[in-house]
Symmetry: C2
Subunit: 346 residues, 2 copies
């Protein structure tokens, strides 16, 4: 009968009152000492966190001194942690940052991506514009890499900052070595032993257990278990994201809406293929989840449900999270045809 996975169902997709589709998944919630608060499914299987760890990947931008040397704003630091929608504010912020580095979009190695959101794409085309690397959802992270490259290049006496930066997406480049080291410090994992893949924006991505990813975000939220400079950099990035949540996503984007509502109570980030990571500083907890099939609709719903349960918000934040945890599906005429139903228990 073939391989059967033991992962539990976390979300059901209902059409009317009938289950149409199902999403399996796993999640870990741990504290900064690694003690397990909640586990669901297999939390020790390696998972590619993809963009869910952009905040960890931005840590060297701060610890290196680059953020101070280039006087980075909250908006720029938030953009370094973003998977943005390529809206004008994102593109302008990335462009302004590159200009201060005496670099341009051609130095970005993330590739060209047309905005994924239909209204954003339509607006861009209607303005007569053409997408480029600045519109790539990772362009802010790559501006951060280029900024770090400029700083490292200056420190090492490189005559040409663009020349030093070239090839920064390769695992062995000084920039990516700093990024990999930061991931190791935060997660406590040896990445040389982790499965490695190439991410959508061409940098390496390492598969790690959800347990270790959750631990990293508990540390990021508390500073506990991190060297002081890393703890301080994590706090600065969390504040920047809370100050500029639009930069992290965009119009109608989950992370933007949730962090606009919750501020520094929750620092959450989506990753491709159904991943979420988050810090909940007031509880001293970090979480990481993976939907087995890669569906973001289920990852978002589970993230919202966990935020509701753990943070117990009130008012508008509660209303928002309740909507996101059980989203209604409408058809082309706007008729309600179904909804997502949470299967997480306990």
């Amino acid at each position: 009968m073939g391989l059967v996975t033991g992962e539990p169902v976390v979300v059901e997709v209902l059409r009317g009152e009938t289950v149409e589709s199902r999403h399996l998944g796993a999640l870990a919630v741990v504290d900064a000492a690694g003690a397990l608060h909640t586990a669901w499914g297999d939390i020790d299987r390696p998972v590619f966190p993809r963009s869910a760890v952009k905040l960890l990947q931005a840590l060297p931008l701060v610890t290196s001194g680059a953020a101070d040397a280039f006087a980075l704003s909250d908006a720029e630091l938030a953009l370094a942690c973003a998977s943005h929608s390529g809206e004008p504010a994102h593109v302008a912020t990335a462009q302004g940052w590159l200009t201060r580095l005496d670099l341009s979009a051609e130095h970005l190695e993330c590739g060209t991506q047309w905005p994924a959101r239909e209204p954003v794409l339509r607006a861009l085309v209607a303005r007569g514009e053409v997408a480029g690397p600045l519109h790539n959802n990772c362009s802010g992270k790559h501006c951060g890499f280029l900024c770090l490259a400029c700083h490292l290049g200056h420190q090492s006496g490189a005559a040409n900052r663009a020349g030093f930066a070239r090839g920064y997406v390769a695992p062995e480049h000084p920039v990516m070595r700093e990024v990999t080291h930061a991931l190791e410090v935060a997660t406590g994992q040896d990445l040389a032993r982790a499965p490695r893949g190439i991410d959508g924006c061409s940098i390496p991505t390492y598969a790690l257990p959800l347990r270790a990813l959750a631990l990293a975000f508990a540390r990021v939220g508390t500073g506990s278990g991190l060297p002081p400079d890393v703890a301080s950099a994590a706090a600065r990035l969390r504040r920047a994201v809370a100050q500029a949540p639009f930069m992290v996503g965009g119009t109608d984007r989950f992370d933007t809406e949730v962090m606009q509502a919750l501020g520094e109570r929750l620092c959450c980030k989506v990753g491709a293929e159904g991943v979420y990571c988050a810090s909940l500083p007031e509880l001293g907890l970090g979480l990481a989840l993976k939907i087995d099939d890669g569906a973001s609709r289920a990852a978002e719903a589970v993230m919202a449900q966990l935020a509701l349960r753990l943070l117990r918000p009130s008012g508008d934040a509660a209303t928002l999270l309740q909507r996101l945890a059980a989203p209604v599906m409408r058809n082309w005429r706007g008729t309600e045809v179904g909804r997502l139903r949470m299967r997480l228990e306990g």
Copy 2:
């Protein structure tokens, strides 16, 4: 630990050589007598077939005499069976058909849908156009419903064809009663006892076992087990789809490419939420499959794999199906980052 599904893994998504995501699913291949050729997973659980049964829903358009009365072309009949991309040829064909009915886009009850394919959407916006109901992927099916309504209205002496047609998406409308009856004849199921939902285009969709859906498509491919007029209508629709495969999907669409390559050897149709149905007339077989989480990438790969195994094509058709059964994933710079791997055995 919560609900665990017993469905087997049918497709793995690899990043590098590491499994990043997994898709579970079920499938049935049966002959026109209902004898099981292949089964994988639970084939008796009700599944919403969504758009995968559009050919069955178009049967009354032919059996009623409407197709002859309005001298429908192969392109129009194929469009009635389509989930098209809203490209100019689709829109023009739908518009021309409506004009012959003395009706217009405002009579379509499918709702407005912007083209889902990014290049098609960009081209539409760049032309300064705005999407309407004609761009909806179901507009051809709805033209078929309106055409049937005109025919039934004329037969019943209705003074006003638009008035008779109004509300045709409702289960109790004469048009939808004919459509429901055709589904019952083809599948042998009593739809009054089946779970009912509302489809994306507002018509009812009934959840049926994959076994029954596969049987219907074995019958469609052979005529066996169907009343003579239904068997003849099924053959006519299959020929129309094989003659005009672009109408069924569009540029770079799976169904279009596969049927362009295989002609009448395979009549396949995707449905939303990971469904495929197909007739393989030369083998006397029908098939139906559902990816548990609704992922079309996995549904397409499994459909391609089954076509390869069952039809054993050669030349360009084999090359195409091999590519579609193990699609390569590339990132924004065009670098190969992963691929889909089939887990179907036996």
